[in-house]
Assembly symmetry: C2
Homo-oligomer: 225 residues x 2
């Protein structure tokens, strides 16, 4: 029997790696999708490639899109500094409509593959306050997606946007991933990781990640510079 | 006073050119957005550039995305023939999730520009039966978009996806555009236009277009090969 296909968004960070492991554990043939979108931490794509291989993805693709051309985010604009202390509101590292763009490509691919499941590792507990990580956004995207495609007109089966991490704490995500064999030393979460994938330990993403290992009571395997 | 910005999706075809003219007539500073997505009729992008200039767009950008990598459409896969006679159901020229992807980029840009209006020239009357041209799709996208962005969390003003052509016949679109000064001889609608922008006269898009001129009682300025 051929495994049922699913599209899994894979950044190369802790959350998406865990998400891929969960999709695999559910038995899906995982088609992992990453984006070179002009992010300053493009080194995460090397992590994504390695993680996809280690966690048994059926294939891994990297789409090249130029979100940096629009600007408006510290993740794509080298002239804006990545904050190294907590801030209130939606942080400058938010990339306008990033998850909408990523999910749209996942939708296109899923339609061609005949997949009815798209996995995205968004999290609404230990997260940075990005609007496109909220459950209500994901639900609205799913509703739209079911009207957008051939399947939405002709098909019987609904497309589902699966968010297995959305209500988990960072510590719970880590515990779950360790059970499923994720090697977190190969994931890169840092917004300003260097060319060797070494983390700054100061940005929002690093802080959330290291606190997660501390709460989980697990040694932090992150390579800090 | 600075004009209010809007993002206008511009393919270079008849509908999107008319849509741009309408947005301009409403007084918007129009930021026109086109896509090189692996379409076989990439010549339409030259038309888009000319039309953007003629119709007074504030700027025109072309995003390069590789939808052809996913395949699944006669518009991006040279191994699939463009049908030259009417068919039932959703035609093979449908590109999976294309308008979802296009609108997602428009959303990203609108957020950076501070625009609250995205114009798309979809039409649900004289159209090819694509699922992502239907009013219910556009409404669902708008709902999702208002949850996706910074503005959706912090802002007071809703983002609107504007579809001024959606209930017009092709003839009505043409009449409207002529009043607004659109030079349709500079637009390219043909799915298999050649390198000079000359149309086949046989594909679905050509048939809808030429019937529109006939019904409108206007000479068809299309250059056929």
């Amino acid at each position: 029997m051929t495994a049922v296909p699913a599209v899994v968004l894979l950044s190369g960070g802790l959350d998406s790696a865990t998400c891929l492991a969960i999709a695999r554990a559910e038995g899906f043939a995982c088609h992992a999708l990453s984006f070179a979108y002009g992010q300053r931490h493009e080194i995460e794509l090397r992590a994504a490639e390695q993680v996809a291989r280690e966690l048994g993805a059926a294939q891994h693709r990297v789409m090249h899109i130029d979100l940096a051309a629009f600007g408006g985010s510290a993740l794509t604009d080298r002239h804006l500094a990545v904050p190294e202390s907590p801030s209130s509101g939606i942080p400058i590292t938010y990339v306008p409509a990033r998850n909408t763009v990523f999910l749209s490509f996942a939708l296109a691919w899923s339609e061609v593959l005949g997949a009815h499941d798209i996995f995205i590792g968004v999290n609404a507990v230990d997260y940075s306050g990005y609007p496109d990580c909220r459950p209500e956004f994901v639900q609205a995207f799913e509703t739209m997606a079911n009207l957008a495609t051939r399947e939405g007109v002709e098909g019987a089966e609904r497309l589902r946007v699966r968010t297995p991490l959305i209500h988990l704490s960072k510590a719970d995500i880590i515990r779950r991933g360790l059970v499923l064999g994720v090697d977190y030393s190969h994931t890169v979460s840092c917004y300003q990781a260097d060319q060797d994938g070494q983390a700054c330990g100061k940005c929002d993403s690093c802080r959330l990640r290291s606190a997660g290992f501390a709460v989980a009571g697990v040694p932090d395997p992150t390579r800090y510079r």
